[in-house]
Symmetry: D2
Subunit: 115 residues, 4 copies
């Protein structure tokens, strides 16, 4: 898999071959994405933070699968709405750089911030 | 932004400049990703499916921002665990092709399947 | 089961008998609650709104189970933090009555509100 | 507020006065519940487990509000589908007692279990 463009095209073909476009309203795709995100959370919910950073091979593979599922719906939803993910990420990085100036944020507690 | 590799590097630098690695256990990053996924769902929760496919410009920009936030944490978490997102997506596509054979799935209700 | 107080006491006993208090930090319980909420969403994600209001007996029983799981963690987390759920709900109703005055809200689109 | 029955009746009246039944398909209510669950998670995402168990008054009040929001949609959805929450919780407790026998579970890691 070369890049997000190739993934987008392959997901689109996968969906078309199964006649699944009719289920893929943006509303439904957003729900499905959040369900996959929760399956990721489930893998970590009873681990300590330290344990979550020292996964064995089997646990790491399960995490990779859930990350792939999230990416699947992220790419599918962005395709459905004709949104360029990398361009959106670029804008967001610029916005976050303004919102959280490094010199101001360093050393602060993150308790009440978003990132 | 060229590709996911560049995004990964830029997110990593963004985090390092703010000294935020100490908050970024995989457990915490998975939580944050799921919160961003819910912010995406929130934009669609009271829309009909039809309305969700006919967003105006302002709504589409808000969706793009939330997609970018999800991608941000997806890339950050995969970097933290040294997981290749595109490779994971490739494996998943192969697995799903076996799990949902096109000739069997076409025309079926999706009520009890995952994709 | 008479009421929330009895449920709280029985959940507390259930947890104590299994020596699970050590896993039940508020952080972990919040994660677990959100995972159960997503399992509820999963039951509805590919249904139309109309279908979601006309579930058969088996689907309704699965929904009831997921609602019970969410309630389980809601009660457990409120017990852990010594928060009175009904009192919190009372406060919230009063607050929402101010935030969404009936005479103003009636007939409006809900697109940009929370409830 | 005496009990869940009273809360159910008051939420129902609140919704009716605002003419919001038309937005309250089970599908939409499940989405809204999951969004509230994520707002709860957001309060804990950057806290350590220890910090999450030692909240100050202001943080505890914000948690109470989010718990109330989750309860609101839980009660509303169960009303919409005519599901008795306490009865569902009773069934679930019995089922979990079989699934996780205390004498077998005590002392085990919870890594791969659900509760």
């Amino acid at each position: 898999m070369r890049d997000l463009e190739e993934l987008k095209a392959r997901v689109r073909a996968f969906v078309a071959e199964r006649d699944w476009e009719r289920f893929h309203s943006p509303k439904n795709l957003a729900m499905a994405l959040s369900v996959e995100a929760a399956e990721l959370v489930e893998l970590f919910q009873w681990l300590t933070e330290e344990e979550s950073g020292a996964l064995d091979g089997a646990a790491r593979r399960r995490v990779a699968e859930e990350l792939a599922d999230v990416l699947w719906f992220l790419v599918r939803l962005s395709d459905r709405l004709d949104i360029d993910l990398l361009e959106a990420a670029e804008l967001k990085l610029a916005e976050n750089a303004k919102k959280y100036p490094a010199e101001k944020v360093r050393g602060q507690s993150k308790k009440y911030t978003d990132y």
